[in-house]
């Protein structure tokens, strides 16, 4: 599973950081920063929650 983040449409709401703090961060302008784009197995649920809770559709998962 690989995480893709589109910083052009991120609105900086921070839902992803709250859902999966080890995987996502925000830069000074609040835009998403992916800390590790290949999350470990035990982070999968958190990451799926983060993607589902992202209000802007900036996050997606590429399976495989």
């Amino acid at each position: 599973m690989k995480i893709e983040a589109n910083r052009d449409i991120c609105i900086g709401a921070g839902n992803c950081v709250l859902a999966a703090e080890d995987v996502f961060d925000q830069d000074d302008e609040a835009l998403v920063v992916v800390l590790s784009d290949q999350p470990s197995d035990d982070q999968t649920t958190e990451v799926r929650n983060a993607v589902a809770q992202c209000p802007s559709g900036a996050l997606s998962l590429v399976e495989g």
Binding site: I11, G12, A13, G14, N15, V17, L18, D25, Q26, D28, E29, A30, L31, N49, A52, Q53, P55, S56, G57
Partner: protein, 399 residues
């Protein structure tokens, strides 16, 4: 259905509640095809969207559904539509919206808000001390739920807390749709005049607060009117919403003592409990109505260019298609997706702050007053109707 007569509108259907829940008629609309026609507080016809998937589809697509095209409303003398709109994130579409929002988001990152937590905890403790010294009994709304978020947003923005009676009173009346439109327009204008003075002062001597930051870092990108609009929105959105979450949330938890005990005693129960309270209470009845730009469909329902869509956030958040037993408060459930903070580009800017305030305030309150109880029978507690944000007039408590 509500109608508008003599300039004093009655309560539009999407704001009508049966205590915590949307009225039965609104809940039932989820199961009927299409979108029923209602009237907004301005008396204009609109279509009511209640299903979670439909609400999310509309909120998530600023290209098909606009916040900027709103029906004309009467304006007080000396006020132009451009004045009213300047800096008002909620009344703009991308790309104008994006430009304004990007100036502010840096102030509301999860990390920035974490740094405020110790100060939020102090403010909470001070108010609990004052409540303990003066009571029992107490009115939880005026002693705790309203002053805590008000003081937090004042400090953050750089608004003198000494002015609170003035701006709290004005905000409460401005959001009350049972008041004549002219009066609400005039209140909004007074609010902007008040904020104009603060903006002018910040331009001469910018402080460490958000107004100071905006003037210092974006003084050339923002007009005076935009600064006023942004700051007025933050002041109102920053205290009315969280205040009503704290008041209604305390009442809901007092009625579910096992759940209250979890919030008090188990730090890891707090974050999921707050999401559940956000969902269950959905204090914002609907966001800004969205205008359909071109003929299209939402879910299976055709909508036409120019239609006004009112999105019922509480109905969407109680859709059995997304949550089991949606009408039960259950702070132990796996976090259910919700639209209490909206969705899409207008998703609440202050969400990390609101979450932090609640995460500090609820456990501290229940910890300080382990015997907290209602001071009047539940049936006598007055829910506030007709305001843009759902809430309680007062919450008498004892301990």
């Amino acid at each position: 259905m509500s109608t508008s007569t003599g300039g004093t509108p009655t309560i539009p259907r999407h704001m009508q509640r049966d205590r915590f829940a949307p009225v039965a008629e609104t809940q039932a609309a989820r199961d009927e095809p299409g979108f029923p026609t209602i009237r907004t507080a301005f008396g204009t016809p609109a279509r009511l969207v209640t299903r979670y998937a439909d609400v999310r589809e509309v909120l998530g697509d600023a290209e098909r559904f606009s916040n900027a095209v709103v029906p004309p409303m009467p304006l007080p003398d000396g006020e132009s539509d451009a004045d009213r709109r300047a800096g008002q994130l909620l009344l703009q579409d991308p790309p104008e919206h994006t430009r304004l929002r990007r100036l502010l988001t840096g102030e509301f990152t999860v990390r920035r808000i974490r740094r405020l937590e110790p100060r939020i905890a102090e403010i909470v403790d001070d108010h609990l001390d004052a409540m303990a010294a003066a009571g029992p009994p107490a009115d939880l709304v005026s002693a705790f739920a309203l002053p805590v978020p008000s003081l937090v947003i004042c400090e953050l923005l750089g608004v003198p807390y000494a002015d609170r009676d003035e701006f709290q009173g004005r905000a409460a009346r401005q959001l009350d749709v049972s008041r004549p439109l002219e009066e609400r327009g005039r209140l909004a204008m007074e609010g902007r005049a008040y904020m104009g003075d603060l903006v002018d002062r910040a331009r001469i001597e910018p402080g460490d607060d958000m107004l100071g930051m905006l003037v210092r870092e974006h003084g050339d990108d923002l007009t005076r009117n935009e600064l006023i609009g942004v700051a007025s929105l933050l002041l109102i959105a920053g205290h009315e919403t969280t205040a009503n979450m704290l008041g209604l949330g305390t009442l809901a938890l007092l009625r579910a003592p096992d759940q209250l005990a979890l919030v008090r005693d188990r730090p890891d129960a707090v974050a999921p409990a707050i999401e559940e309270l956000l969902r269950f209470l959905s204090v914002v009845h609907s966001g800004i109505p969205r205008t359909v730009r071109h003929d299209t469909t939402v879910g299976e329902t055709p909508v036409s260019a120019g239609d006004l869509l009112v999105l019922s956030l509480p109905a969407a958040n109680r859709d059995p298609a997304t949550v089991d037993h949606p009408d039960d408060l259950d702070v132990t459930r796996a976090i259910a997706p919700h639209v209490a903070f909206s969705h899409g580009v207008h998703h609440c800017l202050g969400a990390p702050l609101a979450r932090a305030e609640m995460a500090v305030a609820f456990p501290a309150l229940f910890w300080r007053f382990p015997t907290l109880a209602l001071g009047t029978p539940y049936e006598e507690i007055e829910f506030r109707s007709a305001t843009v944000v759902h809430g309680l007039r007062a919450l008498p408590v004892t301990w």
